[in-house]
Structure formats: structure tokens, C-alpha cells
Symmetry: C2
Subunit: 363 residues, 2 copies
Amino acid sequence: MKVARRGFLKGAGIAAGVGMAAPAVAQALPEVKWRLQSSFPKTFDLLYGGAETFARAVLDATDGKFQIEVEPPGTVVSSLDALDAVQKGTIEACHTALNYYWTKDPTFALATAIPFGMNARQQNAWLYHGGGNELVNEFLRDYGCIAWPAGNTGCQMGGWFRNELKSSADLQGLKFRIGGFAGKVWQRLGAVPQQTAGSEIAQALQASTIDAADWVGPYDDEKLGLVTAAPYYYYPGWWNGGEILHLVINFDKWNALPKQYQAVATSAAAFANLDMQARYDAANPGAIKRLVAAGAKLRAFPQEVLETSFKAATELEKEIADTNPKFKKILDAYVVFRNDEYLWWQVAEYNYDNFMIRQRAKG
Amino acid sequence: MKVARRGFLKGAGIAAGVGMAAPAVAQALPEVKWRLQSSFPKTFDLLYGGAETFARAVLDATDGKFQIEVEPPGTVVSSLDALDAVQKGTIEACHTALNYYWTKDPTFALATAIPFGMNARQQNAWLYHGGGNELVNEFLRDYGCIAWPAGNTGCQMGGWFRNELKSSADLQGLKFRIGGFAGKVWQRLGAVPQQTAGSEIAQALQASTIDAADWVGPYDDEKLGLVTAAPYYYYPGWWNGGEILHLVINFDKWNALPKQYQAVATSAAAFANLDMQARYDAANPGAIKRLVAAGAKLRAFPQEVLETSFKAATELEKEIADTNPKFKKILDAYVVFRNDEYLWWQVAEYNYDNFMIRQRAKG
């Protein structure tokens, strides 16, 4: 590979003095200090850890010159105001799920995960080599931001239910703690989406104030202690086939960075992306074993519930696309890519996993 | 997050001169030039591209100071001698599949992919957060190297067969172009592993010199033009559930790098790892559609063939482990991790993919 050799450091050197070991003189790179607020509480260490992985990688790759202070939600603004704070330049960056901002525009949901979207690997294919990152960043220009994928949870669980679900009839009036864009789909299914703070979910389930609650997956869910109050643990979380977390940066602050720091940050974000997925994949097996030992009853959503949900999600997306050209532009590209991905996935990957799962079950 | 602030650059500054804009004086980082030989021909641009992605990320993140020249196989040594050249320090690094060196010690196979091993995401979990990288690097110390994952193909195809396989009886005497550790398993199944250069496979199949040939997956295989001579395209490639490519570095050269460059290289390797997988996942769907249009007949290996192969692979691994403690140490850790991974995988991920595949097939 021929690599372009940037020459601007050349000529900045001065001849070494005679009889002394002079340090080379170079255009020293600037010391840059940023604040990065995470949208995830420290308790959820893998989510919060994505920003830490990123910041540490940047620090080490710049010999301590580019310092990014990672702060928990509430340090500057609330979790859901992080994007606004980045847009205004109050903080330089945040680590967040862009679908938290779907009420500004449902297009935000497409950047993170949509119901029946791609799985985590397919999303990376779309983002890095299918035009996804470019589409997301084109959209984010109106919010004065630029963003890079920096973490993924993998396919999530569908949540904890007090009672078993036999069919979509059981969804009527179901008080389900679920937020965001996915809540809109559940609403169409007859459920009543609830807003409940993470720390209050267990109590709300025990008091029957809510019937069910969605969170993330085994490793994170274990911390909420829901197994006694709502033992039916459903899968898959079809509204989060692979939730992408983003590192969101103020556009002007990004452009003011030296190219070198931009390159460092780009690699570091990809590292954080891969690393968070690896951590979840390493942590979830132990967690699900502990949860089952504690009484969790694993249940697959009935096929009919999944099909009804797929229909409702597709209809909702179509309706939004009819009136929102930004949403339509990304959705159209996304769906074509997704369908091609699953056409290929069913060949080698799926059959491999299928055999391995059956083989393991046989012992 | 409290980030340790390295202070060694402080105190190296000199007071800015009066009346002139003096460049800051710092301990300039050294210009480092490395040679990195790829074990993959340029024709296979995604495999070869892994090293280029790495080198470009390192170059940009060091403002052009750490220059890694990527060279194709044969520039210094042959593809399969790359590891030796790195060990001797003839070149600083190579980008290779460590299982190419399995004849030195079958433990090398465990670093890349073993029959019925983990899928690509699970491998990342094991490598980065399950102790895998540490085990691989402990083993590589005897070869004077250190290595980082820097690419993955995902689950491969099983290859091109002139005739359909009905059962494992059809494997008896089958002249199968397959190399490495996997060839030993095929040998146990009754096949006769063949060594055939990539450029000669199509001709060998046409002349019936061989009966079948394994390569990688749709995107790479398309370039060999095997569809006419051997139209049965089998899946999954159970000996490559997710082939890891490694960036292998001479241990002393690595230790001689400034810490900053080590950090840059670590992030860049992870970036290359994620990026190659994303490229394969983006490129394979189009390729398999073109191959099927050109006459490829997709066939799943019969369940009985898979089960017989699983048994043969497990026996072979056990035999090696009985006499090779290095192999045993890594294998034991790997198998425990794999079984836990698939216990979890069968819950959310697999069921999600299952539904999405069925839904797509319905249109």
C-alpha cells in the first residue's frame, strides 16, 4: 500500500545543537479537554463503560493530550437533554442512544434500532459500508452534531411479565413499562406504555401498577431484581435486535480538532463499539444462568404475537414515512439493506448457529 | 471518569520568545517505519484490506509518523513464511491467519478458528473479555510475537462440490481441496485433502482432478469462477464459524514502541477487526445473489454429515490435547466459553434471526 506521507512536520525541525542532546522541535499538538456526558447511569457499567473505553483509548493514543472527562447523567443536564447540550456546545460530546430523541423526529429511532431491524453485525455492515453513517450524519447536521457508533448491546430481551402471554389478545390493556418509538408500536398492539424509572420498576410490578417491564438483557436486567415480581422473561426483544449507542459530538468542536485527533477518535469509537458488544456477549451467559436459577421462566413470544407486531411496526413506519421525507430516506435504504442481509444470513451464519445450539443442547 | 494525566511532556516546554510565535517544544515522537506483509493476495481485497485499514488508521492517528508499509505475499517471504519472518525480525509485522502455522503446533489453529468453534461475535467476546487474547499471546511468546485480532470473515461457506452429498458415505475418497487443521478432520471422515493453488482450482475441478474445493465465502469465492465446474455450494463451513485474522508483531519491536504508538495500534487493530467483518457482511449478500443467478445450487450439509464431522473433530481435538498441554490449556478454556455462549445465543439472538429470516422469506 502506498501511504500518503504528510510532510507538514518536516521543516519544523531545527538542527541539533553541537554537544547537546536537543529534543526535536515539532508543532506540538494542542492539549484539548472535553466533557462527555453519558446518558447511562454508572450502575449499568457496560453501557457507561462504552464512553470510558472511548475516552481511555483517545487519552492513551494522544499521550494524554486529548482528555475527555466522562460524566454520568445529571452532571450537566439530564440523560435525555444530553443531545441538546451537545448541540448548544455546553458539553462537547455525549454517549447516548439516539432513539431517546425520537420525539424531536422519529428519524432518530433509525439511528439506534427500529422494531424488526437488523442484528448488531448487520447494522455495522450498514453503518460502516452500506452508507448508514453518512445518512445518520446528514440528518444530524440539523442538530449541529456528528456521531459515530460506539457500542452495541446485541439483541435484547423482551422484558419481564407478571403473566404468560398466550396470544396478542393478552396485550390488550397490558401496562407495559416501555419507552420511545417501540412504545408506539406496543400501543398499536393494544398495550398501554408506561414511564417508570429504572429504580422503581420492581416496586411497580409488585404493586401491580404495571404488568410488565422492558429493560435491556440478562446482565443489566439482573440488577433491577425483577424476577420475583414478574418471572416470565420473554424473548426476543424485537424492538432492539441490536441497539447501537452513539458517540455524539458537537459539529464545530469536531471540525476544530486536528485531523490527527479526529483519526484517533474515529478508531477509538470503533474500538468502543466492538468492545461493548464483546463485553455484553461475555457477560450475558453467566447472567442468564443466574436469573434462571433465581426463578426466571424463559418464554419465546408466540409466533402470532411476533407477526402481529411486525405488521403493526411496518404500518407505523410506513405512515411516518408518508409525511416525513427524512425518515423515509433512511428507512427506504435501511429496509433494502436489511432484507439483503437476512437473505445471506439464512445461509451460513444461521445454519451454523442452529447446528451449534442443537449440538450443545444434546450435551 | 478520572483519567490519569501523564505529565512527562510538562517541563519540556520553553518560554515563548518575545515577539515571535514560537512553536511549542515537545519531545517529538519518533518517526517509525515498519514493513507489514500480508498473507493474502491483493486479489482478495477484503482480506488484504484488513492490513491496509490498520496501517491507514495508525498513520492518520500519528500524523504520518508511524508508517507501516503493507506488502503482498512474496515481497519478502512467501505467504506461509510470514510468521517466521516476523519472529526473526526480517519484517516487523504480518497480517495472517495463525492457523496457517498449525504444523508447527496445532495450538495455532485455536487462535483462528477450529471446527465447530464459536461464531465471530462470540470469538470477540472470548478474545477481548474472556481471556482469549491473553492465552493466544502467552502461546505466541515462544515464537517471539504478539498478536491482535484484526479481521474476521464471519461464518464461511463449505465449498463447491461437483456432486451432491447425500450422507457421510459420499465423503469416502472425496478429493477435497482443503488445507490446514480442518483437512485433518476431513481425512478422518474419509476424504482425501488436496493442496491446490487458488488460481488452479477451477481447472482441477473441470478436469476432475479434485471433486470439491473450499475457499471462503460468496464474495471471495466468486472470483475463482467455480460455479460451472462444481455447482453445489454447501453450507455452513463448520470448520470456519468465524475466521479470525491476526496482526502479528515481533515482540521486541512491539516493546520498543512508545506507549502512545502501542495504544494507537491497539485501537487500529480493533477497528480493522470490526471493519473487515462489516465489509464481508456488506459484500456477501450481493455476491450470493450473483452466484445463484450464475447457477450455484445452495445445499445445506446433511444433518448426519454435520454430526459425524462434529464427532470426528471432537475426537481429534481430544487426542491432541492428551499429548499437547499448550493445546489442552487453550482448548479447555475455549470449549467452556463456547458452550456458555451458545446457551445464551439460543435465547434472544437466534430466535430474532429465526423470525427475521422467516418473515423475509414470506416477502
